[in-house]
């Protein structure tokens, strides 16, 4: 049993030693007159690493696994009714990069119904082997048959690493399979790397993104990680297909206690609070119809339109889409403000956004104080030029 041992004699200042622990797990036991570690311990190792010399020690027990028997970086092909989620291509790109460092192959595992055409398409993204489980039973996503097929793949192929997109389905399936193999799973990794000994280096935000944790699965295989969409880079599609397709016999028992009764299209939600991309129209928009270019920009970026208070007062927007102290507070990945001056109230509602682009004619506009990219120009020049550029690239490649 791995644990932290307290060497009492190496603790000079007890109060100071107790304060090292950010979780309050180091306690003074009045009865035993000893410093103890309580169940609140998160094994963060801070006391071992930062505490008084020799006071806190890690006692570990050894487990051995032959890592050479586990080969390949695998990607689960995330799809909804056969439509492959783009996170899959991004993970294949990452898998290739990791696999090349340790000289492993890249595998994809594709579980679904009537999916062989889509499986063929994956060969254009640099996969060495696509393992396909094609059966009527996989038509709807139900946890038991999907887990059974995934487990069958791992039994057959023994991959070293398994990457799964952190989609609604992936977040349900990956833990189930990881638990079946009693192995580690690290959720929502933002950075992945690999050590020479094939240990996957998994970095993910913790405490609401306030710190980053580097996590490894040193004694178990396969090592599972999930990654959100738009974190990794998708490779370009190659003209010539590579690798091969292997059709796998589905496991015999594909029964499920879950029955899918019906399914309906999701309604589009108008809430800006959860949007990842927001384009904001400000007072520089002169006419209501000019909002169209802002809407178009939001549309091509897959985002939502928001407005500032003057536009709400002019009756040009839904009050639910107002950003600021009297409106919504937002924290998107990308926010582009178009002709917004940047009042204190407005800035308070959006200053935590990850990337802030501000377009304004006035070089002294307050919005530039919080912008990561301050674009000093007229929205009536910049946005149409941007939209034209996007359209042009679409036409070229179409």
């Amino acid at each position: 049993m791995a644990k932290i041992i307290v060497n009492q004699k190496n603790i000079e200042d007890i109060d100071k030693a107790i304060k090292i622990c950010p979780f309050g797990a180091i306690e003074w036991n009045e009865k035993a007159r000893e410093v103890e570690i309580s169940a609140a311990c998160k094994m963060c190792m801070i006391c071992v690493n930062k505490g008084p010399e020799g006071a806190f020690e890690l006692e570990e027990d050894e487990v051995f696994i032959d890592k050479n028997l586990w080969k390949g970086v695998s990607v689960y092909v995330d799809h909804d009714n056969g439509v492959v989620h783009p996170v899959t291509y991004e993970l294949i790109g990452k898998a290739r990069e990791l696999a090349d460092k340790i000289n492993h192959p890249v595998f994809a595992v594709f579980i679904g119904s009537d999916i062989q055409e889509q499986a063929e398409e994956l060969r254009h993204y640099g996969v060495d082997e696509v393992f396909v489980y094609d059966d009527e039973a996989f038509k709807d996503f139900r946890i038991e048959p999907y887990t059974a097929a995934f487990a069958d793949f791992i039994d057959k192929v023994s991959p070293s690493t398994v990457l799964v997109g952190a989609t609604t389905l992936g977040r349900s399936l990956a833990p189930r399979v990881a638990a079946r193999f009693k192995t580690g799973l690290t959720a929502d990794c933002t950075i992945l790397d690999i050590k020479e000994n094939t240990d996957l280096v998994q970095i993910r935000p913790a405490f609401g993104g306030n710190i980053m944790a580097q996590i490894c699965t040193p004694k178990h295989r396969p090592q599972f990680a999930t990654v959100r969409y738009k974190i990794m880079n998708a490779p370009d599609r190659s003209e010539e297909p590579t690798g091969e397709i292997t059709l796998c016999e589905p496991p015999k028992d594909l029964s499920s206690k879950v029955t899918v009764l019906s399914s309906k299209e999701k309604e589009v939600e108008e809430d800006i609070a959860d949007a990842e991309v927001i384009v904001v129209a400000g007072r520089a928009i002169k006419k209501e119809e000019d909002l169209d270019m802002v809407r178009e920009l939001a549309k091509v970026l897959g985002g939502k339109v928001a407005v500032t208070r003057p536009l709400i007062e002019a009756g040009w927007g839904d009050p639910k889409t107002q950003i600021g102290l009297s409106g919504r507070t937002v924290r998107p990945k990308l926010i582009i403000t178009c002709g917004v001056s940047g009042s204190v109230q407005f800035k308070a509602g959006m200053t935590n956004s990850e990337y802030i682009f501000a377009i304004n004619k006035d070089p002294d506009a307050a919005i530039f104080q919080v912008a990561h990219y301050g674009i000093i120009g007229d929205v009536y020049d910049v946005i149409p030029e941007l939209l034209a550029k996007i359209k042009q690239s679409e036409e070229v490649t179409a």
């Binding site: 644990k3 609604t168 913790a206 580097q214 070089p363 179409a398």
Partner: protein
């Protein structure tokens, strides 16, 4: 109808910083119930209002985690279990799920186990499904609403990537519910007084069927935190002026992956 709700005590806030020496600086050590778990509790209460029965609540943590069970009592839950043992410390997702599954075996036979979507400190959303695997029961994640609770099954609406599915799942099963499935009620003062001395059953490793220490806490955790560090802040502060600003913006948005070049 026997329901189990799994809850967790989490830090009162996630304001945490790392100083130059790599130490965690936490402002305050106040703790609260994981907000997502309130929805799980409310869902269980709605099922009980409809079908009757009993709702148990379970958490794993240090002795002070009893506070969240007290809070669950104030919302109307019937009995509580605290899984607490020094040997559970340092548990990652897998060993947490295993510990909870052992606790659930011990606590009774349940028709349905309800978990919140995720926690605010771990943010993994993985414990529910892993626990279901260990209990060998089906699970349904991302449950948006309860359509109907029947004698031997439950009909649910589930958030899928592009659709809302209606599914029926047989008991026993585990579900994880979305934030907003039902508006959680506030703790009641009347119940607070009534349940002030109500017992909370404490379970340790010695109470479990599987007493192998290697499956719990850090020993049972395949993942290990190697180090922690502060996130990179976006400290970009650029000013652009002049011509072709739209094109420049286009290039930057491609670089940052907000625009995808069509393949």
């Amino acid at each position: 109808m026997k329901t189990l709700v799994c809850i967790k005590q989490v830090p009162g806030n996630t304001e945490v910083q790392v100083d130059d020496n790599g130490n965690l600086i936490r402002s305050g050590i106040d703790a609260k119930m994981n907000p997502y778990d309130l929805y799980a509790i409310e869902t269980a209460l709605k099922i009980r209002e409809d079908k009757g029965g009993k709702i148990s609540v379970m958490t794993m943590g240090p002795p002070q985690a009893k506070e969240v069970i007290r809070e669950a009592y104030m919302m109307g839950l019937d009995d509580g279990f605290l899984l607490t043992d020094r040997r559970f410390a340092g548990a990652d997702v897998l060993s947490t799920s295993y510990t909870l599954s052992q606790g659930a075996y011990k606590a009774g036979d349940f028709d349905i186990i309800i978990c919140g979507k995720q926690t605010t400190d771990g943010d993994t959303a993985q414990v529910g499904p892993e626990m279901a695997e260990y209990l060998n029961i089906p699970h349904v994640a991302n449950v948006k609403s309860i359509v109907e609770c029947k004698e031997k099954s439950i009909v649910l609406e589930v958030e899928m990537p592009t659709t809302i599915q209606t599914v029926e799942v047989a008991f026993p099963c585990l579900i994880t519910v979305e934030k907003g499935i039902y508006q959680p009620r506030l703790p009641s003062y009347r119940l607070k007084k009534k349940t002030k001395y109500q017992e909370i059953t404490e379970l340790t490793l010695d109470d479990f069927k599987d007493k192998n220490e290697k499956r719990y806490g850090l020993s049972g955790s395949p993942t290990q935190v190697e180090q922690i560090f502060p996130p990179e802040q976006n400290t970009t502060s650029e000013r652009w002026e002049g011509e072709n600003l739209g094109e420049k913006l286009y290039d930057e948005l491609i670089d940052l992956k907000f625009i995808y070049k069509n393949k």
